[in-house]
């Protein structure tokens, strides 16, 4: 269906169902329960999941397929956000023109940076992309202030032209919308002790993510995707086979730049402001972590990695000593206190430590990321395959 084979169609449908029912699936604990703090089903966080998922899915088209490790992808995310906010200021609060422009601008930007950076490979390529991204970040802070509003960040103002929108008669800033449906509006459904939020913003992001994911599946299965994997495997052989690898890598770079721009545009669509810190190298590093953690070169891995990191960031960082004391309240005092002291560095602000450890464990024991972990677990339950030579390259889900 839709140009996918049966296995991919089934897989795609599962992703669709999960994405659409996420507001329920991610809220497994009743709102009043102790565990409610582990619920991730609130619009703001779910939007982050899918937006950073898009970012990582796009990054994976470059890194996972061609092996070119870019350390500057946050620049495209940032450029996308700026482009989108400018659209909100000048044209309309409708998010469609905004995200279209953010993709176009990020794509053009990626074309320029990619054209130069792809003249080198390996570590030199990584350094070039890092240099370009840092340059963009610093310029956004300094000389480009008229475009970026420097340190304050680009924001909406009451007197922005917004030529397509009706004149703003209220005294408050307008909100982003999709043909009138406000991004932040949501419906809450209370059943039993549970409370589920279905927000317009999340569903818009989720549908766009599904389109982005579908596109990536098609690219993976296409001759183009096969050429990109060949670049990673043996670029020299590819050239002696009559393929010019440069335009392929450049196309992959631009496509992944456009994914990043789309993610940046969506961030702005959820919250219409853009700051330079979005382009900082830590943000570029984060998408590398997401992709490797989830499983570079696999279809769903980067998305899982993005979700995992954003979940840790938002949930682990909220746990504090008090909460730990509550959890261990049943234990003897001395044990309770020891446990809390031991766990203290790993929670709250220390969540980076937890994440770092998990990352190290995954890289050492599961080089294929969370997806490999999943495949190993399901492998345990599956019958031993017949003695037929099977491919392990197939980028399985």
């Amino acid at each position: 269906m839709f140009g996918l084979d049966r296995k991919d169609t089934v897989f795609m449908l599962i992703v669709v169902v999960i994405a659409l029912s996420a507001p329920i699936l991610l809220n497994p604990w009743p709102a009043a329960s102790q565990m409610a703090q582990f619920n991730a089903g609130y619009p703001d966080l779910m939007q982050r999941f899918v937006v950073y998922g898009i970012f990582a899915i796009g990054f994976n088209i470059l890194f996972g397929l061609t092996g070119y490790l870019s350390f500057g992808h946050a620049a495209f995310l940032g450029v996308g956000s700026y482009a989108a906010v400018w659209m909100f200021k000048l044209l309309s609060m409708n998010i469609i023109p905004a995200i279209l422009l953010s993709m176009v601008v990020a794509g053009l930007f990626a074309l320029v940076i990619g054209y130069v950076s792809l003249r080198r490979s390996g570590i030199y390529f990584s350094i070039l992309t890092l240099a370009f991204a840092q340059m963009s970040f610093n310029m956004a802070y300094s000389v480009l202030t008229p475009l970026t509003n420097g340190e304050t960040g680009l924001q909406l103002a009451l007197d922005d032209p917004r030529i397509l929108d009706a004149a703003n008669t209220t005294n408050s800033l307008p909100v982003t919308n999709l043909f009138g449906a406000e991004m932040r509006s949501s419906v809450t459904w209370n059943v039993g002790g549970w409370s589920f939020d279905f927000s317009v913003g999340y569903y818009v992001c989720a549908v766009i993510m599904l389109i982005a994911f579908y596109t990536s599946v098609r690219i993976f299965r296409s001759p183009f995707g096969m050429m990109l994997r060949a670049v990673k495997s043996n670029q020299q052989r590819l050239n002696y086979t009559g393929i010019n690898s440069r335009p392929y890598t450049l196309a992959a770079f631009v496509i992944s730049g456009m994914y990043a721009g789309l993610a940046g545009g969506l961030l702005a669509a959820m919250d219409p402001l853009a700051g330079a810190e979005r382009m900082q190298w830590t943000a570029s590093g984060e998408v590398v972590l997401m992709t490797i953690l989830g499983g570079a070169g696999t279809l769903i891995g980067p998305f899982l990695g993005a979700g995992f990191i954003k979940y840790c960031e938002n949930i682990f960082s909220k746990i504090n000593d008090q909460i730990l004391h509550q959890w261990f309240a049943l234990l003897p005092d001395w044990l309770e206190n020891t446990l809390v002291t031991v766990l203290h560095p790993f929670i709250g602000k220390g969540w980076h430590l937890t994440l770092g450890l998990i990352f190290m464990l995954v890289v050492v024991f599961l080089p294929g990321g969370l997806v490999e972990g999943w495949n190993r677990i399901t492998g345990l339950f599956r019958r031993k395959p017949k003695a037929k030579p099977s491919a392990t390259t197939e980028p399985a889900e």
């Binding site: 098609r218 296409s222 183009f224 030579p389 390259t393």
Partner: protein
């Protein structure tokens, strides 16, 4: 005029003269063997033909056009395919994908933005690749990762990747090195079949004299960066200079 003309080619690596004043003419639709002791410059000569190296002096023309200054992919698109001395294959891809890539390169040229096609639905190309794998008796291994193949199979795969492009000129750098006797004989038969079935020129570097004398119509003997003699296999066998420079050594 041969389909491949090498004139006065020289190549130095630092102080080392790897090639000096090499002249070689390969006639269309013949099998031309290049033999010579280790370090004679045979692989270096091939490198100059496919754009891996640019010779310091001299000219190389293929079918009347200069290959110098062209990129490897452009030279391949002119109709030259090469099997390397150490197998160059896509080790992370399956055997089938390894053969599909040259098929796409042949159909679509050096670049095409086919991001919304599906490999499995390109039936012509898939059939073509399967037929080729059948010819090299590797069809049953098509789902295997190329990295997991035996050395001999890697060579056969690389040969299949080159042959499926139906090149005008096929360059083979020790295609049977590391193969078992039976595989070597299969390879000889395969190359003979290919040769008989369609117009193709082959230049083959080989240490195994059995292979050379089974296939070659002309033989060039190289030593120390220059061709010593060029003649028919029968004449080469008895040539005193050749015995001295090469055959004596190889038969020890």
């Amino acid at each position: 005029m041969g389909i491949l003309e090498v004139n006065g080619v020289g190549k130095n690596f630092g102080g080392l003269k790897a090639l000096s004043n090499v002249n070689l003419s390969v006639k269309e639709n013949t099998v031309h063997a290049i033999i010579g002791p280790n370090g004679a410059g045979k692989s270096t000569l091939l490198n100059c033909l496919v754009g891996k190296l640019i010779p310091d002096t001299g000219t190389v023309t293929f079918a009347g056009q200069s290959v110098l200054g062209r990129k490897p992919h452009q030279i391949n698109q002119m109709g030259i395919s090469r099997v390397f001395q150490t197998p160059e294959i896509f080790t992370h891809l399956t055997v089938m994908e390894n053969v599909l890539i040259p098929c796409f390169a042949r159909r679509d040229g050096s670049f095409r933005m086919h991001a919304f096609e599906t490999v499995a639905n390109e039936h012509d190309i898939v059939e073509q690749a399967e037929a080729m794998l059948k010819d090299v008796k590797m069809l049953d291994k098509r789902h295997m990762l190329a990295a997991n193949l035996s050395r001999g199979d890697k060579r056969r795969l690389e040969m299949a990747m080159c042959l499926v492009q139906e090149p005008k000129l096929l360059l083979l750098d020790e295609p049977t090195a590391g193969m078992a006797r039976a595989d070597t004989n299969n390879t000889i038969d395969l190359l003979k079949e290919i040769k008989a079935s369609r117009p193709i020129t082959m230049a083959i570097i080989e240490h195994d004299m059995h292979v050379v004398f089974s296939l070659a119509e002309r033989i060039t003997v190289m030593a120390q960066g220059t061709p010593l003699v060029e003649d028919t296999p029968d004449n080469i066998k008895g040539h005193p200079k050749v015995r001295e420079a090469y055959l004596g050594e190889a038969q020890v």
